[in-house]
Symmetry: C2
């Protein structure tokens, strides 16, 4: 009895946008126009692609965006000056800074110059503490929020479920684990040093693949009736296309539901970003 | 083939003290005497008991201690003034503030007035971010550190092991989960909303009981050959004595090794505290 279902991201993003649009309207009634500042160093194609998506969505939602683009030859101090100016700018509610930064930069230092309440993609120590403790100011990384919102959109119960997260990065594995804990799931965190990973993933109700290795999890990692959220976005040289961390082949009839790559989690992240910018603006009115 | 073994805490604390003593000696050669400040509001018996233990251990190790005792009728501002003065006092390296504070206080606000680098028991946002991300300044709660140090002392492998933590509090469940992840364990976090908890704890190599309920985990939660770390310290009205979160009855021959209560994890916490104070002092010399 397997009704495999593709958990497409676009419909989730559209539903999030509808709610965000209402919130933007309410802010504008109060004379507040939510604004996102994008900070980018250089012209990395994947940054540009994400930026185009963010600009389009913010435009649609009535969220202002200002771009701060620095040359690859800029100094760390120049970048930090930009961040400080955005911290001080009361018209800016959220800041998205693309990473990785040039290798000569101390990324940890730069990230932590941003104030947590404008940290809409969860890159600061303040956001880390917020994600971990649910106290203080900050936001989870947009991708982590997208995972939860996809499940909620498709009315998939989380409370009491066994969730196995494969990956322990600060970008996705750890924050999404904390979000699942907040939702009362029982959470197992696996990683490269995990033994018998197949047995562990097979025992889950929900598997989150966030290990960043192209098609690492094949059908041997899964049992029937599972929900699979594939956070991986990897370019397969062999297949000449984007693939997830899950190998879709031989998965026929196994999962109840699975997010496609592309078109799954990645399609929800800019909607999550817009939501966070609006939340940051709302926080000013409280 | 069950050789049940009591993982007693005192021997672990003694071994930690030996190393700490050497480090204190090196600091003193540099003219630095590590100092702990204890902040206590009121005369709670369990605080006083812990304080006596901390004083005795610090005295033995050559760590100075100064006490700041406020009356239960003190104001939140008075308490915060004490914390600020300790932040500014260069001779003080670590601060231990007893909690819970009087109910009229905003504990979260008070805790976060302490600077993270002196936060030797992990109560600030900075320490939370440090525990979660391994970046920045701060310390884990002493109890969480004690769990790991007990396992290391008894040469129990952690890397690759399945660890099930029962409890998700900021005092023990979450931080100890993060420490186990750092040690390359595969970590499952259970809590009051977990379903089929017995099946989950039975599948673990190491179970950490930190749910704060007297003898909540009985023999049905365990299988053979497990390591059990009991973090609970509860007073049993029925038994008129301190008991852990694990019910020792019927456990005969089940666990390979288990920490007793009292005399297990609780016996290591002040040694952990002394270690943290010395680390905080060492950080000044780097």
């Amino acid at each position: 009895m397997n009704m495999e279902k593709l958990l497409k991201g676009k419909i989730v993003a559209d539903a999030l946008d509808e709610k965000t649009l209402v919130r933007v309207g309410k802010l504008k009634e109060k004379g507040l126009v939510p604004k996102l500042a994008i900070v980018r160093v250089g012209e990395n194609e994947s940054d540009l692609s994400y930026e185009r998506g963010a600009l389009k969505r913010c435009d649609k939602l009535g969220i202002e965006v200002e771009k701060h683009v620095l040359d690859m030859s800029c100094s760390q101090e120049e970048l930090i000056d930009v961040i400080h100016s955005l911290n001080d700018d009361k018209s800016v509610h959220g800041v998205l800074m693309f990473r990785p930064l040039p290798k000569s930069f101390d990324e940890d230092v730069v990230c932590n110059e941003l104030i947590a309440k404008k940290d809409v993609d969860g890159i600061t120590r303040g956001s880390n503490a917020y994600i971990y403790s649910s106290k203080g100011s900050g936001f989870e990384p947009c991708t982590a929020g997208a995972v939860i919102d996809i499940l909620k959109h498709y009315d998939i119960d989380i409370a009491g479920k066994k969730v196995v997260v494969v990956g322990r990065s600060l970008v996705i594995g750890k924050p999404v684990s904390m979000l699942f804990l907040n939702e009362n799931a029982t959470v197992t965190i696996c990683h490269s040093k995990t033994k018998d990973m197949k047995e562990i993933t097979k025992s889950a109700d929900i598997v989150v693949a966030a290990i960043g290795k192209a098609e690492f999890l094949d059908d041997e990692f899964f049992s029937e009736n599972q929900i699979i959220i594939d956070v991986g976005i990897n370019y397969s040289d062999e297949k000449k296309k984007l693939v997830g961390d899950v190998n879709f082949e031989n998965m026929e009839g196994k999962a109840i539901a699975i997010t496609p790559v592309p078109g799954g989690v990645g399609s929800v992240t800019t909607a999550e970003l817009a939501k966070h910018v609006v939340m940051a603006a709302e926080n000013l009115t409280k």
